[in-house]
């Protein structure tokens, strides 16, 4: 049975964008330059906003428009802009981070996507919504975000990974459940904003204390005999 034929154009669009979101996550894993990493992240935010808007349109759900707006402003522009500014300020925009075992990471990422699909499989049978595949996609984005954090050493990359996890969550909320109650969404958005600010503050602190943003050098608090 062809899945696509059963869906309306909009739904096909949503699924297409979902695929793009996963793709951006893959891209993030592969970016060596911080500035292009942030750019990819911004693209992910824009795609997210687009999905939300599409959902709002298909389901005639006005409050999803608000969510779309929030994510557009926050994820698409504000946070990437803040991060870029910091990168420039710290003079890291030209820095190239050597990735650890890029092939393995990519293979693992592919496996994670499969794994998410496998985990979500029992749920797939439940949902009548066309967006049911969204759960698998968002889980994949979350896991890829974590993988990014595990595999990268730059604090900025960690923040981007963290934010991309949030994106995944947001995607799940929008696509699978037509958005959360408004109060929750605003709360989450607020938290993300504050978190971004706090991250910014921490960049300064970390740089002050270890003279770089390499998280592997944050290892004073260890209990292994040395």
């Amino acid at each position: 049975m062809n899945v696509l034929t059963n869906h309306s154009l909009y739904e096909q669009a949503i699924l297409f964008i979902a695929a793009l979101v996963v793709f951006t996550s893959f891209l993030m894993l592969a970016q060596k330059r911080l500035s292009s990493l942030v750019a990819v992240f911004a693209w992910q935010g824009l795609l997210l906003a687009a999905t939300t808007a599409l959902c709002a349109y298909t389901q005639q759900n006005p409050h999803l428009y608000t969510s779309a707006l929030i994510s557009l402003v926050l994820k698409g522009f504000l946070i990437p802009w803040m991060l870029l500014r910091l990168i420039v300020k710290f003079d890291m925009h030209r820095e190239v981070e050597s990735l650890l075992y890029p092939t393995y990471v990519m293979t693992a990422a592919a496996a994670l996507v499969l794994f998410s699909y496998y985990v979500v499989l029992p749920i797939e049978q439940l949902s009548a919504l066309a967006t049911r595949n969204a759960i698998a996609v968002s889980l994949a984005v979350v896991l890829l975000g974590m993988l990014a954090m595990v595999s990268r050493r730059q604090a900025v990359a960690h923040v981007v990974g963290f934010m991309s996890i949030e994106n995944g969550l947001f995607f799940a909320a929008v696509a699978a459940t037509q958005g959360m109650p408004m109060v929750v969404e605003i709360g989450i958005a607020f938290d993300v904003l504050v978190a971004a600010v706090v991250f910014g503050v921490f960049f300064f602190h970390i740089r002050e204390s270890i003279d770089s943003l390499d998280v592997d050098r944050l290892n004073r608090l260890s209990e292994v005999d040395r």
Partner: protein, 487 residues
């Protein structure tokens, strides 16, 4: 008009107030008064609930029952006593030049912010709001961890932030899944409300809920400090200012566990299996044993006690996972006892570190000779937390043990070995700290030990005999969670 409004309103107003006043010398006092008012309000709330039973406020967005109201009282109480301790302590720190007035302002503001977040976590009926508030609590405390701006504290704060952030994100995924499951049965916008979910628990899809529980457990479990998600905890506890360690250990961990238990209730209702319980037992036991071993490798006094927190949280998680009225009762009691005792210990530890001018265990010596109140406070507190009767910690541990003995006899030796190892780990370090001769340059300081005395006396009292009101309360909470009563 219910007492919930003042309970939440006071810290809400306290934040801007202290943001204005936070840097002055009297700010500590203001903080005490605010918390005192909050405590009185929470008592009022407790009486309301006690008289009228569970209640919902604000269109079902807040729900107070026996389970959370007692945690509310506990939270405001520990908040109050810690504030009493913190007022002179933080002033002392400022005088010694470890803090600037602006950071003091930040500290006081965030203290209220943290209290607000904690109280919202407890009282809200909305799983989403719960998540938001939990994240809020992280945000409020993360800057406090790095308050001293030492390289270690910055590192600790960063780890705290990243790990809890990632963890809590997973909890959000779990929450979304919950909402998704609720959407399947057509609860609409109310699908985030715990009471609605609980009511329809049996109809919710068990597969989705199991998946959701995994996310929620890993997410909130990070905040509880379950091994292997615990790594941030000792760092954050040891590097932040001591009052913060006291409330982190005494309150934040409890509230995260509270969230997990709420989720477990939903999952149990849906799946009808023990899956959630087994997961919690596994994590609990692992945390308990690993933390007990970690105790043997400590050099920092606050780190030592933060591992002890992990150990006790492990035991509570284990007990909640065990389920059944006896274990649940025990876990509830253990939550209370651990909060009271551990925050009392952190208070004494803070004083001890202040008078020895270091947190290193090897350098703090002869506390009893230097300042008997602090030395004895620490020693008795340690004895209490190590589970010596007649302190209440023993009572709850005993109940956990016997509940285990009845359901999983072969696990009891593990628990007991863990208790023994943990005990040895605590006392091998604390004993030389409190006993012995006074090293040079260690002088008494002005200290306010009333909070310690009050906490320990409460713990002792509850160990000897649980007051009727309290046991009723625990009993009601047990009925809410486990469905039957141990009485």
């Amino acid at each position: 008009m219910t007492a919930l409004y003042p309970v939440l309103g006071i810290p809400l107003l306290g934040m801007p107030l202290l943001a204005l006043l936070g840097s002055i010398d009297k700010a500590g006092k203001v903080n005490v008064y605010l918390n005192g008012a909050g405590f009185l309000a929470s008592l009022w709330l407790a009486i309301e609930v006690f008289n009228n039973g569970p209640m919902t406020v604000a269109a079902g967005e807040f729900r107070i029952d026996a389970f959370n109201v007692y945690l509310v009282v506990l939270t405001t109480f520990v908040g109050l006593t810690t504030a009493i301790f913190s007022a002179p302590y933080m002033l002392n720190e400022t005088r010694h030049g470890r803090l600037t007035p602006n950071r003091l302002r930040l500290y006081h503001t965030m203290y209220q912010g943290f209290m607000l977040a904690m109280l919202v976590v407890l009282t809200t009926n909305n799983m989403g709001v719960l998540w938001v508030a939990m994240e809020g609590a992280t945000l409020a405390t993360v800057l406090l961890v790095s308050l001293y701006r030492t390289p270690e504290s910055v590192e600790a704060a960063w780890k705290y932030f990243i790990l809890c952030g990632v963890g809590i994100a997973q909890a959000l995924f779990g929450t979304v899944l919950l909402y998704f499951a609720a959407g399947q049965i057509g609860t609409g916008g109310l699908g985030m409300q715990w009471s609605v979910l609980f009511e329809h628990a049996a109809e919710l899809n068990p597969t989705v809920l199991s998946l959701a529980f995994v996310f929620l457990l890993v997410g909130y479990g990070t905040k509880i400090g379950l091994v292997p998600l615990h790594n941030w905890l000792p760092d954050a506890h040891s590097e932040g200012p001591t009052p913060m360690s006291a409330i982190l250990s005494g309150l934040l961990l409890n509230d995260a566990l509270y969230a997990v238990v709420r989720c477990k209730m939903l999952v149990d209702g849906s799946t009808g299996t023990h899956m959630a319980g087994y997961l919690m037992m596994g994590f609990g036991l692992l945390s308990f044993l690993v933390a007990a071993l970690f105790l043997h490798r400590q050099r920092d006094i606050k780190r030592l006690f933060s591992y002890s927190s992990i150990e006790h949280m492990g035991m509570m998680t284990f007990a909640f996972g065990l389920g059944g009225p006896l274990a649940t009762f025990a876990a509830l009691m253990h939550m209370t006892m651990h909060s009271l005792t551990k925050s009392a210990i952190f208070v004494t530890v803070g004083h001890a570190a202040q008078l020895a001018k270091t947190q290193q265990l090897e350098k703090i010596r002869g506390l009893i000779k230097t300042q008997p109140a602090i030395g004895w406070g620490l020693l008795i507190g340690t004895a209490a937390i190590a589970g010596f009767p007649p302190f209440g910690v023993f009572t709850s541990e005993f109940l956990v043990l016997t509940a285990t003995m009845q359901q999983f006899p072969w696990l009891t030796p593990l628990l007991l070995i863990g208790i023994g190892i943990a005990f040895a780990g605590l006392f091998r370090y604390i004993q030389p700290v409190v006993y012995g001769a006074v090293p040079e340059g260690q002088h008494p300081i002005s200290a306010n030990l009333w909070p310690v005395a009050v906490h320990l006396i409460l713990v002792l009292w509850m160990g000897l005999s649980i007051p009727g009101v309290l046991s009723n309360w625990f009993d009601q909470a047990t009925q809410t969670i486990a469905g039957s009563s141990p009485l």
